[in-house]
């Protein structure tokens, strides 16, 4: 069914159907902004980047292929926009004023983005593995991870809400990520080479 919806939306989009665009926007805008924000750590910049992504989606709608995942395409566009945003940032005055720590972090984030190739990464499978793995985590660990990653609470807020120490929150997130690191080994392999789309 999802495939059918995807195919139908793709065809509609390609034909310039405004409602299809609206549905895609409302479905993916939030997740994409959150995704971009992981790398840009700037909410407003992330929103601008994803708005550009949707403008491009509309401009390039003639290239939409109904057999290709719309989601992968959107993530791929977002990734490219984030990379180009960081590149511009690096040569801007605004950036020069930031601390060295932030500059290094942005640099690393840009490099991490280069490692993400949505042509080869199966997003749905990764999401499924994460969901399934969450089920197997100890109660507290799962609770902390969901509040952090799904509800987007800060570690401090989670500690307050659950009445546990900040250290315990961090410990639980670390624990979860350690497990994901192993489970996702085959899906996000370290060190595969990327074709840059720039």
């Amino acid at each position: 069914m999802l495939d059918e919806i995807n195919a139908e939306l793709s065809v509609r989009l390609r034909n310039g159907d405004e409602k299809a665009f609206e549905i895609v926007f409302y479905s993916f805008y939030g997740p994409l902004v959150n995704f971009a924000d992981e790398y840009l750590t700037d909410r407003e910049a992330s929103r601008n980047v994803v708005q550009t992504v949707f403008l491009k989606l509309w401009e390039k709608r003639a290239d939409i292929n109904k057999d290709y995942s719309l989601k992968a395409w959107l993530y791929s566009l977002t990734r490219n926009e984030c990379i180009s945003y960081i590149r511009h940032l690096k040569v801007s005055r605004k950036f020069a004023e930031k601390s060295r720590e932030i500059m290094v972090r942005m640099q690393l984030n840009e490099e991490a983005l280069h490692e993400l190739d949505f042509n080869t990464i199966d997003l749905d499978t990764i999401e499924k593995i994460i969901r399934d793995t969450l089920e197997t985590l100890p109660e507290r660990c799962r609770e902390v991870f969901i509040l952090s990653r799904y509800d987007h609470l800060k570690n401090r807020e989670i500690a307050g809400q659950l009445g546990i120490t900040l250290k315990a929150v961090e410990g639980n997130i670390t624990r979860a990520l350690k497990i994901f690191q192993v489970k996702l080994k085959d899906y996000l392999p370290a060190g595969f080479i990327l074709a840059l789309l720039q």
Partner: protein, 333 residues
């Protein structure tokens, strides 16, 4: 460097010592560097949800910049599309956009246009109505509702199993029509199982209150939380009992809980969940009783193995390309 520090660097506000340690580690080798990228990406992709408060205003920002022509009416094609709507288990794209529309009070026609949701065998889906009522549909279930709901009445037609969490609206009862009877509620949570191929239907009330009527609108029963009404199509007999409601809620999360149920009773659920046909070569084995929890994502083999280990029952699987696979259960004795 400790793994904890690496995570702290990726997820939070690291202190200077942590930052230094992590950056040193990253630059120590190419493998370390790649591992950092991978963790960072895993972390970024593991987030989900759509917490963007500016969703609607941002949409209009984008829309302003686009040259939308006059497209065809949205209602017709969405209606066509949703006719086939069988939303894949737990993957909530369609729920997602309908949910979004509801939250943002966007076109009502989306929500009132379609009329049938079908969930194939082996899958579960979740759906949100315009009034905020949520419904979870179990495998092999069809839910229909009118194109243009009346103002005074909310009604749906159910074949299969569904869990309803109905939003309370004064003077607008919510009615679930099932084969043998109608369930009438205001605001409440309950589970209904009424597969057309089963004689007995079960209505289990979790919270609130609920009335069950026959088609002549005569009152058959009023349920209190924790009560279950069983109704037989063939004999029209009914029985009311107190039950533990946990199993009737758990299937929504992909858990099938059995409390002292016979294999005969369980078979139907397993058939629908795993899209298999279960054949008993011996009526006697229907009487083995089970207590336990089955997780939906576990392969069916594993469940058969568990049955094999705890009982003298043996099985044989016949794989069909065109239809459901067949599992024949027989006794070793």
């Amino acid at each position: 460097m400790e793994f904890e520090q690496l995570i702290e660097y990726i997820t939070g506000d690291p202190d200077e010592a942590t930052t230094t340690a992590v950056l040193e580690w990253i630059s120590a080798s190419e493998e370390n560097r790649k591992e950092f990228y991978r963790l960072k990406n895993i972390y970024a992709l593991s987030q989900s949800g759509s917490r963007v408060t500016e969703l609607r205003s941002d949409y209009f920002k984008v829309k302003e910049k686009l040259d939308f022509g006059s497209g065809e009416s949205p209602v017709r094609w969405l209606k066509e599309l949703l006719k086939y709507a069988a939303v894949i288990a737990f993957t909530l794209l369609s729920v997602y956009f309908i949910g979004q529309f509801r939250k943002n009070e966007i076109p009502r026609e989306y929500v009132s246009a379609y009329h049938q949701l079908t969930v194939p065998l082996g899958q579960i889906s979740e759906f949100i109505f315009a009034d905020g009522t949520r419904v979870w549909l179990n495998s092999g279930t069809t839910l229909r509702f009118p194109d243009n709901p009346q103002d005074s009445l909310r009604e749906v037609f159910l074949e299969g199993e569904a869990y309803f969490d109905v939003s309370k609206i004064k003077k607008r009862p919510f009615i679930v029509h099932t084969g043998p009877m109608d369930i009438r509620v205001l605001g409440t949570a309950f589970n209904v199982q009424c597969y057309p191929d089963m004689d007995k239907s079960e209505t289990t009330l979790v919270e609130g209150s609920l009335e069950i009527q026959n088609h002549k609108q005569e009152l058959l029963a009023m349920l209190k939380p924790g009560e279950q009404l069983k109704f037989s199509r063939s004999t029209l007999s009914r029985s009311l009992s107190r039950v533990d409601t946990a199993p009737y809620k758990a299937w929504r999360d992909g858990k099938l809980i059995f409390r002292d149920k016979s294999l005969g009773e369980i078979a139907g659920s397993l058939e629908r969940w795993y899209n298999v046909r279960i054949i008993f070569s011996d009526e006697k084995i229907k009487n083995y009783r089970f207590t336990g929890t089955i997780l939906k994502h576990k392969p069916f083999d594993q469940i058969l193995q568990a049955i094999r280990l705890t009982t003298p029952i043996r099985y044989q699987i016949r794989v069909h390309a065109e239809s459901s696979n067949e599992v024949t259960l027989y006794s070793r004795e």
